[in-house]
């Protein structure tokens, strides 16, 4: 299975690669996260590392940045074996890292965050001037300006990431690692990030980009390494490969990147929001003036960068959060500020809910699969009549679900936390879909789920749609929204920017809308 038919830098000229990993292995308990991983990356290249969640990408980069220590193997920088046992070692070796979760102190200024760790002297004062000058130079050199005195928590995510990049390269780093850098960005912000990266490449900086988005690999990298199950399964020149091949390498079998679906046959309106609003405890508006209708047999996709009101919308629709103004009509039940509802009533009204955070709202990780499979339906006939739960019926029910939805391993007595992310999600989806909901509220159905399971989950959602269910789908993955939705509503700062039919939507128009620019303004 493992092939090495193009080894990126070994074929190059006499220069040693900027960075080379030799036989890196790392074991956590019984899990072998990295198995003898080797790769070489030439100077000034943008190198992609792709793999599914849990494939070992992040572990590998954490080893390279000194946050974890490899059990065996060597790291070579410019041909020299360089032991990296701490972040300080990595920084000295010229490695900078932009972490997936930003390493910024929210109530510090940009300047303080950039200074942290390289203050220069025991007193802050001299370093402040130097850092200010550095911010200015870097801002001009790479076209990434940011106000030194702004508080991080006041900055949009795109600018926060810029500060992360500045932190990573401030000491003259020649190797820049970015871990899933576009997960929180609008397409526009992602594009300006890529511009910065190309600029750095010209400057001779070697960039390592970790991502699960194949489109980004194709758009910006020169070479790519695919990792599966902790092992390298292939090195490719980006120009010589395509997303289908990379996906197949990642999963180990052929996958359909796009779900086949027929045209929707919409029926009666099952879910309607009319001037829906809700506020935070301090009066801050969380949702503002939301209007939409979803008919039987169609999927309304909600697009937007994370944190723009999608979570609150899901909470309102599932009965977790009260409506403060406006109304919500679910089939023939009306929910307003006066006539409240709760999740149990919504369930009884045949509204299924696949929560966006399966660990917090979807499962009880300490419970067995069979118990998780009846959560929320424990008063229904699934668990037998009366106050006592029929244990055998519960186990049998779980086994049925596991078979139908391909949950592995099919063991009803295994506790929730012992399933992989994809199988946990399949269990949640099985539980909700099995009850034949008329309306299904879905949040981030494939977050942290491997590509194979994504394909399965998407098929289930389309099947449910074709059976006449009204589905509201929230996802931060634009590809997913575009692939599944019949109509797309874009949210920004708790408001709806607009609703567009799927045929008229593409990444660019949606991207502008996600940044808060209405379709008519952009045209």
């Amino acid at each position: 299975m493992v092939d090495h038919h193009t080894h990126p830098a070994s074929s190059g000229s006499g220069h040693p690669p900027a960075i080379e990993l030799r036989e890196i292995s790392k074991t956590f308990g019984t899990v072998r996260a990295n198995k003898a991983i080797s790769m070489a990356i030439g100077k000034g290249a943008i190198h992609g590392i792709v793999g599914e969640n849990g494939a070992g990408k992040s572990t590998l980069m954490n080893i390279l940045y000194g946050l974890h220590r490899a059990d065996s193997g060597d790291i070579l920088i410019d041909g020299q074996i360089t032991p990296i046992h701490s972040s300080a070692d990595a920084i000295r070796a010229g490695i900078g890292m932009v972490h997936q979760h930003f390493m910024l102190v929210p109530n510090f200024t940009v300047l303080e965050n950039v200074m942290l760790g390289s203050e220069g002297s025991p007193m802050l004062k001299p370093g402040v001037g130097e850092t200010r000058a550095l911010l200015k130079t870097l801002g001009e050199e790479f076209d990434m300006h940011v106000d030194p005195d702004a508080l991080i928590e006041d900055l949009p995510v795109g600018l926060q990431q810029r500060v992360e990049i500045i932190k990573a390269v401030k000491g003259g780093a020649r190797i820049l690692i970015l871990d899933e850098p576009t997960g929180v960005l609008t397409p526009g912000e992602a594009e300006s990030l890529f511009k910065i990266l190309r600029r750095m490449k010209q400057d001779g900086v070697t960039v390592i980009l970790i991502t699960h988005k194949l489109s980004e690999i194709m758009a910006i990298t020169d070479t790519v390494t695919v990792i599966r199950g902790g092992e390298v399964v292939g090195h490719r020149k980006t120009a010589d490969t395509n997303p289908e091949e990379l996906a197949e390498l990642m999963v180990g079998r052929k996958v359909l990147l796009r779900v086949d679906r027929g045209a929707a046959r919409p029926g009666a309106v099952l879910l309607e929001a009319d001037g829906l609003e809700c506020h935070a405890a301090d009066g801050r508006p969380l949702l503002h003036d939301i209007d939409f209708q979803i008919r039987a047999g169609e999927i309304l996709g909600i697009a937007g960068v994370a944190g723009n009101g999608q979570t609150e919308l899901l909470e309102v629709l599932s009965g977790l959060r009260p409506v403060d103004k406006g109304r919500l009509v679910v089939m023939n039940r009306t929910v307003t500020r006066q006539s409240r509802t709760d999740p149990e009533q919504m369930r009884q009204a045949h509204v299924g809910h696949i929560p966006e955070d399966r660990h917090r709202h979807g499962l009880v990780l300490a419970f067995e699969a069979r118990e998780n499979a009846v959560l929320g339906f424990h008063k229904s006939s699934v668990t037998g009549e009366g106050a006592l739960i029929d244990q055998q019926a519960m186990t049998a029910h779980c086994l049925d679900l596991m078979r139908e939805f391909d949950v592995r391993p099919p063991n009803p007595n295994l506790s929730g936390r012992n399933f992989s992310g994809g199988n946990q999600q399949k269990l949640v989806i099985a539980r909700e879909i099995d009850k034949r909901p008329r309306v299904l509220i879905v949040g981030q159905p494939t977050r942290g789920v491997d590509i194979g399971a994504i394909e399965f989950i998407h098929k289930q959602l389309i099947r449910l749609r074709d059976e006449g269910c009204a589905i509201l789908l929230v996802s931060v993955e634009l590809e997913e929204i575009l692939g599944l939705s019949d109509r797309i509503m874009v949210m920004n700062a708790g408001r709806q920017v607009g609703i567009v039919p799927c045929e008229e939507a593409d990444e660019q128009t949606l991207g502008l809308m996600m940044a808060g620019i209405r379709g008519s303004d952009a045209a």
């Binding site: 990595a90 979760h101 109530n107 802050l124």
Partner: protein, 322 residues
């Protein structure tokens, strides 16, 4: 009227006296908590410091050596807290409470073993402890009305540790806001991962904060037994560590506001001591118990969000794991 002024002056004088250990402990708590380590064990360190200071002063007759040893003992206790909370990532509240219980017991047991006076140390002679510092010109200024009395009772005549405590406040503020250590300390209490990825050791930073807290608590303890008092009495910390912690929270984990909170709490205590058994017009007997409870009541109100908003360091109480 001048009698009233004189009483007021004595109350202010008492305020500073009572507030001294609070200020030192509050600064200790602030450093520890800013680094992300909850410090319930201020109380225990204070008590251990008080006991060791009195004991050493009794045997050697040197208050300076006594303070030095009190600091050492308190630092040792701080190290236990650090070892449990930082190295072994234990529960910080549990560790703190355990230390307080341990300190209350150990001091008395050792005191009984050494002195056989029911857990107390013998009364210390004047020379074995810190006396009030008489400033110059007290005699010269005395005849001047008001100023003379203010200078004699309020400016001059305090314990050297009191003056030290007053210096510790600006020094703490400087350390926290103007130095590399302070920047890193503030960062490590908010986002320790940011400090770690910047190549700075989270554990060592937190240890330094906890050790600093040990030093300050040791001095505060010495003040109790060889400054303000003349020997060690069981449980002589009497909740001051907790009040100091309340002052830290009340001051929103900032040095100067925490200092002001200490003064306010000290004032309430001094006032209630002065009003003991005195009938006030309209109210009747002075509600001294209520006044002593006020610091706690106000802290609860603050935490409940009635007086502004207290936003603790984001990573407080959370052991750091990569």
């Amino acid at each position: 009227m001048s009698e009233f002024l004189f009483q007021a002056l004595l109350t202010l004088d008492g305020t500073v006296r009572v507030a001294t250990p609070l200020i030192l402990c509050a600064m200790a708590g602030m450093f520890s908590e800013r680094s992300g380590v909850i410090d319930i064990s201020l109380e225990g360190k204070l008590l251990v410091g008080a006991f060791v200071a009195a004991t050493i002063a009794y045997f050697t007759g040197s208050p300076w050596l006594a303070v030095f040893c009190a600091i050492g003992a308190s630092v040792l206790v701080a190290l236990i807290h650090g070892f449990a909370c930082i190295t072994h990532r234990g529960n910080q509240v549990v560790s703190g409470l355990a230390i307080n219980i341990l300190a209350a017991g150990v001091t008395v047991v050792v005191a009984i073993a050494l002195f056989r006076q029911g857990g107390q140390t013998p009364i210390l002679d004047r020379g074995d402890r810190f006396g009030p510092m008489e400033f110059w010109f007290v005699e010269t200024l005395d005849p001047i009305p008001m100023l003379g009395a203010v200078y004699r009772e309020f400016i001059s005549g305090h314990n050297p540790i009191t003056y030290l405590a007053l210096l510790v406040v600006p020094a703490s503020a400087y350390l926290l806001y103007r130095t590399r250590f302070g920047l890193r300390l503030r960062a490590v209490g908010e986002v320790p991962a940011a400090v770690d990825t910047a190549g700075v050791s989270v554990a060592w930073l937190r240890y330094r904060a906890v050790l600093l807290a040990g030093v300050l608590c040791g001095i505060a303890g010495a003040y109790l037994s060889i400054g303000q008092g003349a020997g060690f009495v069981p449980e002589m910390s009497a909740g001051k560590g907790y009040i100091a912690l309340a002052a830290v929270i009340f001051g929103k984990w900032r040095p100067v506001p925490a200092f002001l909170a200490c003064l306010m709490f000290g004032f309430l205590e001094a006032l209630s001591a002065r009003l003991q058994g005195i009938d006030l017009p309209l109210i009747g007997e002075a509600p001294t118990h209520l006044m002593l409870a006020l610091p706690y009541i106000m802290t609860v109100l603050l935490l409940a969000g009635f007086i502004g908003r207290a936003s603790p360091p984001a990573a407080i109480g959370v052991p750091y794991t990569k």
